[in-house]
């Protein structure tokens, strides 16, 4: 046997693609964990269809998982991939454009028979494995199905069950290619199939088969080494956005002493927050899977009234249903956290694809003058901090707070140098207590926040409701001037939050210069990488990423004046840009993408270069 050559690479992008039943998401997350444990920096991008089992073999059914890992700082899952795993024709066809010239394709040749060609709408005589169309790539043709069936011929399992383990062969092979241990995945399989030892054994057998295949056959003449990244010292783990968001909520609950009540209704891509929080009952977390979106938010409001931190999680269509209740919470002046894990809209839209098109909905989507704070997480990790912050603002200011995330960061993973509980700030909460004076439910403190008087407190019996309130007493008031006063007061209450949020900083680039590119939410990684490259080239371009969207940091207006041109990059048809133009009369330029896919670094670089001239 020839010895394989070992190459050291700085970073690699692998894209696993197959049928939605092929287990590509699992394969991707397993490899992600291994890369993370090894000490690589990384970013991931799961990209799957809305249907659980879309028609087999078709383009609609292709499920992908991309991981970018390296020994350097990684900000995005990568524009294009170095390695494409394609389990069938459709997976190849749907992803080949993302493969770099000279990249490696690992194909399951069984997925290229005439049936699969037909399902993927590829003419019989145009089989890409045979027509030369892949000549500029390095194609590794393996009959993974056949290998799997042979390996498990004596297992006593049915063909259908056997075929389900073929993703483990792929995983084993990739582990071999990138010099990673299969041990953690063996542990994972054993734990996942604890009660099904036969299935566990079969999966482990295939995992090992894949690894040994790399080792013993001469299909691959190189093996790659991606050294650990230089990252700040500390203890790390791998985490996904929705998980980080759930942890942030629990952390805020611990630090405030407010028990969590989550009222919600399952919806993609937010449901994982419910799954996650429902596991933490020993933190006093109450999760309520309601009959609908409206009941979810209303139950959360009821719980907030009772002294819990009421939380509701959803995505665009669900948020639309909750709006009347969010208006109620605004007038009741009760804490509430609304997490919108955005997806493509309008209506049902693109449930599993990402978009940032609910900013206007969060800011203005209610009847009446109904301002609420809106904040947005920039990365999977940032979901933790912003969830913590959402609870703090809601509880200390007695107000509903929108936390915007999206499908891209919700499902994307990153290594996380996680904080210690003792390093997180306390969230101080004072419930109202009876005094000798008559209780005034709508009296206010210096933040313009009203007292949180929870039922069960003697002497504070009072009534609240959705009808306009008289200032201080909280009694129903139809007085004309009182209404105008209260509308302005509720606005001022939101505006005052700007006194305590951090000023806007420049993430990268000069403090004054030619072009400022502004982003918010999940576009962070792509903008950061693009700007980083241009700054290295000596271009006068800076990046600011807004996390507090309402109220905006106080210095935004000043900051915009320091650049000749301002670009606002958003995955929508231009929403933040309208806000900035409205508030600051700035002639900003939009960079918009509405394809259900995140920006690539290249798209941002191209636009910036065009503006820079």
């Amino acid at each position: 046997m020839e010895t394989t050559e070992e190459q050291i690479l700085e970073s690699v992008v692998i894209r696993f693609a197959g049928d939605s039943g092929d287990g590509m998401q699992l394969t991707g997350t397993q490899f992600t964990n291994a890369a993370a444990m090894y000490g690589n920096d990384l970013a991931t991008f799961p990209d799957f269809p809305a249907e659980i089992r879309a028609p087999q073999g078709t383009l609609a059914g292709v499920s992908g998982y991309q991981i970018h890992f390296g020994s350097k700082k990684i900000n995005t899952p990568g524009d294009t991939c170095d390695v494409l795993v394609a389990m069938n024709v459709a997976a190849l066809k749907a992803n080949i454009e993302q493969l770099k010239p000279g990249g490696t394709i690992i194909v399951n040749s069984d997925g290229f028979d005439s049936k699969n060609l037909r399902l993927a709408n590829v003419p019989e005589d145009q089989n890409p494995l045979e027509n030369g169309s892949l000549d500029k790539f390095e194609v590794k043709k393996l009959d993974i199905t056949k290998i799997t069936r042979l390996a498990l011929a004596d297992s006593g399992m049915g063909t259908k069950e056997i075929d389900r383990t073929k993703n483990m062969f792929v995983l084993g092979l990739i582990y071999w290619m990138y010099n990673r241990s299969i041990d953690k995945s063996i542990e994972f399989i054993n734990s996942k199939f604890k009660n099904k030892p036969q299935i566990a054994d079969a999966n482990i057998k295939l995992l090992k088969a894949g690894y040994h295949y790399g080792e013993t056959t001469e299909t691959f003449n190189s093996r790659y080494e991606i050294k650990a990244a230089e990252m700040p010292a500390g203890v790390y783990r791998s985490i996904m956005g929705n998980q980080a968001l759930a942890y942030g909520l629990v952390a805020a609950s611990v630090k405030s002493g407010l028990p969590i009540f989550l009222g919600t209704y399952p919806i993609t891509p937010a449901s994982d927050i419910l799954h996650e929080l429902s596991k933490y009952k020993n933190f006093g977390v109450r999760t309520f899977q309601a009959e609908d979106e409206i009941a979810g938010v209303c139950a959360a409001i009821g719980a907030s009234y009772g002294g819990s931190i009421g939380i509701t999680t959803s995505s665009g269509p669900g948020i639309a249903l909750k709006m009347e209740a969010i208006g109620l919470a605004t007038v009741l002046e009760l804490p509430l956290v609304i997490c919108n894990i955005q997806r493509g809209g309008p209506s049902t839209g693109l449930p599993t694809k990402t978009e940032q098109s609910d900013l206007m909905q969060a800011l203005y989507g209610r009847n009446g003058e109904c301002p609420v704070p809106v904040i947005a997480a920039a990365t999977p990790l940032d979901c933790f901090d912003m969830a913590f912050e959402a609870v703090r603002i809601a509880a200390q200011h007695m107000i509903p707070v929108f936390l915007l995330s999206d499908g891209y960061i919700a499902n994307g993973a990153e290594p996380w140098c996680f904080p210690q509980s003792k390093d997180l700030p306390e969230i101080k909460i004072d419930f109202a207590k009876a005094t000798e004076e008559k209780f005034m439910p709508y009296a206010r403190d210096e933040k313009l926040s009203r007292p949180w008087a929870v039922p069960g407190t003697p002497g504070l019996e009072h009534r609240i409701g959705g009808l306009e309130k008289q200032h201080i007493t909280g009694n129903i008031s139809y007085d004309a001037h009182n209404h105008e006063f209260m509308v302005k007061l509720r606005q001022e209450k939101v505006d005052k939050i700007a006194d305590e949020i951090p000023l806007q900083t420049i993430d990268n680039g000069p403090e004054k210069g030619e072009v400022l590119i502004i982003g918010w939410g999940s576009t962070y990684g792509a903008i950061k990488t693009a700007v980083g490259a241009l700054v290295l080239e000596g271009k006068s371009v800076a990046h600011a990423h807004i996390r507090y969207l309402n109220p905006l940091p106080k210095n935004i207006g000043e900051l915009l004046k320091n650049y000749n041109k301002v670009i606002v990059a958003e995955m929508n048809n231009g929403q933040l840009i309208k806000i900035l133009r409205d508030r600051f009369l700035v002639d900003a330029i939009g960079l918009n993408k509405i394809q259900g896919q995140p920006f690539t670094t290249e798209e941002i670089k191209t636009k910036l270069s065009e503006i820079l001239g």
């Binding site: 009941a295 009821g302 009421g310 509980s421 039922p455 069960g456």
Partner: protein, 345 residues
């Protein structure tokens, strides 16, 4: 929910439950009587005032919390059940009351209403049924009779009405009762029964809207017709009604029949009410005939059905207690670190 009476606490009076707000219902509205009966019953329950919470939706009846000197929330249309669910789940020690109407709970809030009942949260629901939309000035409601001429149905309503008792039984409610605004003693009795029941207590209250639907329940409430048209049911008692208690209900198979107790039948032949009998509760619920039709059955009032079943709030909080017992109080550092970590030096 039964609570031990605290002997040392000062005895509260109905006045203690009257808020400083002027009551703004139309003069003559049936809501006044219901408010008064609630304020009469609450002091006898032996609980401090701060433990009572009244949650309502939107509609005339939903103004109710403003008039009670307890904790209260006047929320949004149809959603009181959901808000009360969140409150009771997180604060099970409170006595939570939901005030709603036929439009609020059976139209816009129909979904929350049935789910509240099936989950069986320990909440007392007072469903004011006046068979009309009052606050929006007189459109037909989901309990209005077919053919009802209103502002929105000039040619008569073509909607088939809900039977709230049958709907509640269908949603697996554990306590279902009916009473009427004009019978203060009976309301009080039903309120006490509802309060004592652990689980969702649905009390439908026939309430006269003297402005938009005056006399809708006259035949059941007026002295001249009440005895012949109503059937007051009591657990373990035979179903007897009529001017001189001279009529009874017998079951012929599953078919109820009115018999004359002065002619060949006696009380011993009559159907004996059993609050725990679901089949019979469903038959009783269907005593819902138009009183103008010849041979109709009398309209029952009282507790149709009452059974014990674990409540959602108890089970939710038991799961929390069990999780703490099993895994210990949550440790944030352990949670955040997860199962797999690595160290970079």
């Amino acid at each position: 929910m039964t609570t031990l009476i605290d002997q040392t606490a000062p005895k509260l009076s109905p006045k203690d439950f009257v808020s400083d707000q002027d009551v703004r219902w139309c003069p003559g509205c049936g809501d006044y009587s219901i408010l008064k009966q609630v304020q009469t019953v609450l002091p006898d329950l032996g609980r401090p005032k701060e433990e009572f919470v009244f949650v309502s939706g939107i509609g005339c009846s939903s103004r109710f919390p403003y008039y009670m000197d307890t904790y209260g929330m006047h929320s949004i249309h149809g959603r009181a059940a959901a808000i009360a669910t969140g409150l009771k789940s997180s604060r099970p020690e409170l006595s939570v009351w939901m005030i709603s109407g036929d439009g609020d709970s059976l139209s816009i809030g129909g979904n929350h209403f049935i789910h509240l009942l099936r989950r069986n949260l320990d909440i007392n629901v007072l469903l004011f049924n006046n068979q009309i939309y009052g606050l929006t000035k007189g459109q037909y409601s989901p309990t209005s009779e077919e053919g009802k001429v209103t502002k929105s149905t000039p040619m008569g309503s073509i909607d088939h009405p809900f039977n709230p008792i049958a709907l509640s039984l269908g949603a697996d409610a554990t306590f279902v009762a009916r009473t009427m605004d004009r019978d203060p003693k009976h309301i009080q009795q039903m309120l006490r029964r509802g309060y004592d029941h652990t689980g969702t207590s649905l009390i439908e209250i026939y309430q006269n809207c003297n402005v938009f639907n005056d006399g809708a329940f006259e035949v059941f409430t007026e002295k001249t017709s009440k005895k012949n048209e109503t059937l007051f049911i009591e657990n373990g008692q035979p179903l007897i009604f009529g001017e001189n208690n001279d009529k009874g209900i017998i079951l012929d198979g599953f078919k109820p029949k009115v018999v004359n107790l002065t002619e060949g039948y006696s009380a011993a032949d009559c159907w004996v009410h059993d609050e725990q009998d679901q089949v019979k509760a469903n038959i009783l619920a269907r005593f819902f005939d138009n009183p103008n039709i010849e041979g109709h059955l009398p309209r029952p009032f009282g507790v149709f059905y009452a059974i014990p079943r674990p409540t959602y709030n108890d089970m939710l909080n038991q799961q929390i207690a069990f999780a703490i017992e099993k895994n210990g109080e949550g440790n944030l550092d352990k949670l955040i670190a997860g199962k797999e970590t690595w160290t970079i030096n």
